[in-house]
């Protein structure tokens, strides 16, 4: 009987033993990632890294910035552009001969309609472009296509035109095929429902298959205006377990690994697999809701600057996910501080003193939310190191970004990302609050989420929007950074984020973009 059992098991094993060809196909790119953040493939509703990556390959933008030189605006669908004398009108000339995946030609009408649509829908994708004063009431009059090759954008406010052009590089402004999407409209939804799982772009790839949380499959378009991409097919596989992804990268079954744990990245690095650090324009922070009476006290917030033991984190879990940073201006950008970050040293004794001064000699008890799954580690680390300072956190796991956006939290750890390659991008998230009332519902601004009213700071940030002289802008940035810190801000930055990509040997041309518009067009495999 035992023999029969053994025989049976061997038969089953032999059936399955096809020495699995350990190689992702030579002309297909296999990306192992986490797909749980993709809720829709509509550019107007996009906000996450993976979404942005997929969309940047299904859709083209009017202009682009490359990861190697993110300050330079390069032509893409727009061949050239001119500014009016008063700098309030941008006239773009679109290149000819571009077609959508459907076969329809791309014209300025598609571009105008796309921009109008994004503003009218008013979802998360609109947050960058709406900064320049566009509303659903004025957008139709301000963005127009007088002829198929010309797009005219009139600015409702005096704004640095560079900033406007930067915002046009975002994946949420990928140009849609107006004819195709309009046919799929239902109940005035601008085709949002259909675009959840379909593509309608002019990019180098088209969407062949989409199974939510399982696999997007994109095939190359030979008729792409820049030429056919070397990769015929790109597949993203949902491999949420970092250990599994590592084994597949080592076996060359997967080419690119995303969202991996530091331990696995270290092991891969030791095996000679390149880790692209993927610098990001965002930070890891502790946020405090100043509607909570305890957290409204500046001394309490100051105490919180000393309750996270971040140095050990930097060399362990944060090793590949960020580097120590304490300013709201990204490293290397105008106005950013030089040298090692100081000010937020881990000092539980000092924190205790500050809390006692504020009237809490016995410490504090608060609930701590991680903004999402990946932040749980940091939340737990914070909980542990804050204990010594007398701050008792109860960590509640889950996806708390909606709570953060609606001011329903006490303390939260999160990370941010900006798609604008200019300090204004992060400043407008962290140091800008035009209307602090609950009814204003400005959940797109982190400072609003913390309910801190900062009119002076807000005014300064607005100035950087219109000021065009680089020297003056830099001075403004520096002042904002200092004034922000002086508030004992409810947003304490500890790390600037990096989004590491593991790239298998033999794959070239894959570069993680700081604004998440990572393009596959140049990827080659040897």
């Amino acid at each position: 009987m035992r023999r029969n059992l053994l025989a049976g098991v061997s038969v089953v094993m032999m059936l399955g033993v096809a020495p699995t060809q350990a190689a992702s196909p030579p002309n297909a790119l296999v990306i192992g990632t986490t797909l749980s953040t993709i809720t829709s493939l509509d550019p107007a509703l996009t906000n996450s890294r993976t979404q942005s990556e997929v969309l940047s390959n299904l859709y083209d933008n009017l202009v682009e910035v490359t990861p190697q030189d993110i300050n330079k605006i390069q032509p893409m669908l727009a061949e050239k552009w001119e500014l009016s004398d008063d700098k309030r009108t941008i006239t773009m000339t679109l290149r000819k001969g571009v077609t959508f995946a459907s076969g329809n030609p791309l014209t300025a009408e598609d571009a105008a309609w796309t921009i109008q649509r994004v503003i009218k829908i008013g979802g998360v994708g609109a947050s960058d472009f709406a900064l320049w004063g566009f509303t659903s009431q004025n957008i139709d009059g301000l963005v127009q296509a007088p002829d198929p090759q010309t797009l005219v954008i009139k600015l409702p406010q005096a704004v640095s035109t560079d900033l406007v052009l930067y915002s046009l590089t975002s994946s949420s402004l990928g140009i849609l095929d107006k004819q195709t999407v309009s046919k799929q409209e239902k109940d005035g939804d601008f085709g949002q429902n259909w675009l959840k799982s379909n593509g309608a772009g002019s990019g180098p790839f088209k969407l062949t298959q989409w199974r939510p949380n399982d696999v997007p499959l994109c095939d190359a378009r030979a008729e792409y205006w820049r030429g056919a991409p070397p990769m015929r097919r790109v597949v993203m596989r949902h491999i949420p377990e970092s250990g599994n992804l590592r084994l597949q990268l080592e076996a060359s079954d997967v080419d690119i690994g995303q969202y991996m744990a530091s331990g696995d990245l270290e092991a891969l690095q030791a095996k000679g697999i390149a880790i692209d650090p993927g610098p990001g324009l965002g930070y890891y922070y502790i946020a405090m809701n100043t509607q909570d009476p305890d957290l409204a006290k500046p001394l309490v917030r100051q105490a919180f600057q000393h309750i996270l033991d971040w140095k050990p984190l930097a060399s362990t879990t944060m090793k590949f996910n960020g580097f120590p940073w304490q300013s709201i201006i990204p490293k290397g950008m105008p106005g950013a501080p030089n040298g090692e970050p100081t000010g937020y040293e881990y000092n539980p004794q000092r924190a205790k003193e500050l809390l006692a001064q504020a009237g809490y000699p016995n410490g504090l008890k608060k609930t701590l939310y991680p903004s999402g799954g990946p932040l749980l580690t940091m939340a737990v680390a914070l909980q542990a190191s804050a204990k010594a300072a007398g701050v008792d956190f109860e960590v509640v796991p889950g996806e708390h970004t909606p709570d953060f956006r609606s001011r329903k939290y006490e303390v939260l750890v999160g990370n941010s990302g900006s798609r604008l390659p200019d300090p204004y991008g992060t400043l407008v998230q962290y140091a800008y609050n035009p209307d602090n009332r609950d009814e204003a519902k400005l959940g797109g601004y982190y400072l609003w989420r913390t309910a801190l009213d900062a009119p002076e700071l807000t005014k300064l940030v607005d100035q950087t929007k219109t000021e065009t002289d680089p020297g003056k802008r830099q001075a403004l940035f520096e002042k904002i950074d200092q004034d922000f810190k002086a508030l004992n801000p409810p947003l304490i930055v500890f790390f600037q984020r990096t989004d590491p990509y593991a790239i298998r040997k033999g794959v070239s041309g894959y570069v993680g973009h700081p604004t998440w518009t990572t393009r596959w067009f140049n990827v080659k495999k040897s």
Binding site: P19, S24, P25, N193, H238, P240, G398
Partner: protein, 348 residues
């Protein structure tokens, strides 16, 4: 003659009464299940209006959707409309995938079902013989070995076991595949008929893709099955011991029957019904217990779907998944009830 007719008639009547009784009990169980999921949906800290509109919405839209969803009606009316929706196949839309929950479930459930089937087969063909051997060699070496094997499977964290198994069978030996249901090269080549990859590929004669699907399912399925081996083998052992101490066994031995015949043809036959209960319960547990395995192996099943729905407060997903799991349990119980009648003449 008259007596025979009367017996025949009352037998049919008894049969009809039994059937309607059965149907009634199923209907009551189903109603209870729906009530449970409905209450759960109302008690979850998730605003159903925001699930439809998104978190930033003005009061006018909020009120409109609130009315559209019928949330202003009394709770019993809401329950009735929920039941009506369920019976017409409308389980709402998912916040996280943007698709109707029914469509999602039709994609993820077959994946978990297939995994659970492979797991229960492994669990049965390893656990049952293990239990029988253990009982037949009570106190002996095989008994101890069986206990260790079973305990190991139950105690070792399954995600750790999963990663080690991947290291051995995928990395080193290259016998199996690592994640997903089939290779990317084979994506879209098989038309889903049942949704069970192994069955569909066989039905369409795609032998290569069948082997590919098998190499993807064998590791997660075997591990999931191994996890239940402890329970199955212990229960088998205890049922067998009970039988082996009975008088008829001693009598059979005395009559000169071989040991093998005694164990398998007599004792084992008598525990089949009890074993069926154990296997049915285990199978039901496998349907919703596969989350960790699904995560480690990137298996696009119900476990991942439900867990994601829970963490994202996606109410429709949670309600729909729980209801489906409940219905599967119900069906498993009904099927095993029918099988009792076939296997055990005493219940007929």
């Amino acid at each position: 003659m008259a007596t025979v007719t009367m017996v025949g008639g009352s037998a049919r009547l008894a049969g009809a009464r039994r059937l309607s009784g059965k149907l009634l009990s199923v209907a009551i169980t189903l109603a209870g299940l729906l009530l449970l999921t409905f209450l759960m949906g109302r008690l979850l800290p998730a605003d159903p209006v925001l699930a439809v509109t998104g978190s930033e919405v003005d009061k006018a839209t909020y009120d409109r959707v609130y009315q559209q969803l019928g949330l202003d009606l009394p709770i019993w009316q809401q329950f009735l409309s929920y039941v009506k929706n369920v019976l017409t196949g409308n389980l709402g839309s998912s916040l996280t995938t943007g698709r109707p929950v029914v469509d999602d479930l039709l994609t993820v459930f077959p994946a978990t079902l297939e995994l659970a089937i492979v797991a229960i087969l492994v669990g049965t063909f390893v656990g049952v013989p293990l239990g029988v051997v253990a009982a037949a060699n009570r106190g002996g070496l095989m008994d101890h070995v069986a206990r260790i094997i079973g305990l190991a499977g139950h105690s070792i964290p399954i995600f750790w076991l999963g990663l080690i198994a991947l290291l051995v069978f995928y990395s080193k030996l290259q016998w199996v595949a690592a994640s997903g249901r089939i290779d990317i090269l084979n994506e879209g080549l098989v038309t889903p008929i049942t949704g069970l990859m192994l069955v569909d590929t066989l039905l369409q004669g795609e032998w290569d893709i069948f082997r590919d699907a098998l190499s993807h399912i064998i590791l997660p399925g075997a591990l999931l099955g191994y996890y239940s081996v402890a329970y199955i083998s212990r229960m088998t052992r205890s049922f067998m011991l009970e039988q082996l101490s009975q008088e008829y066994i001693i009598a059979a031995r005395a009559k000169g029957m071989s040991r093998r015949q005694m164990i398998w043809n007599h004792a084992f036959k008598n525990i089949r019904v009890q074993l069926l209960t154990v296997l049915a319960l285990t199978f039901g547990g496998l349907i919703d217990g596969a989350v960790l395995i699904e995560t480690v192996f990137g298996w696009p099943g119900l476990g991942q779907y439900l867990t994601r729905g829970l963490t994202m407060n996606d109410m429709n997903v949670v309600m729909g998944s729980v209801m489906l799991t409940g219905i599967v349990f119900l069906i498993v119980n009904i099927v095993s009830d029918r099988l009792y009648r076939i296997l055990d003449p005493r219940t007929r």
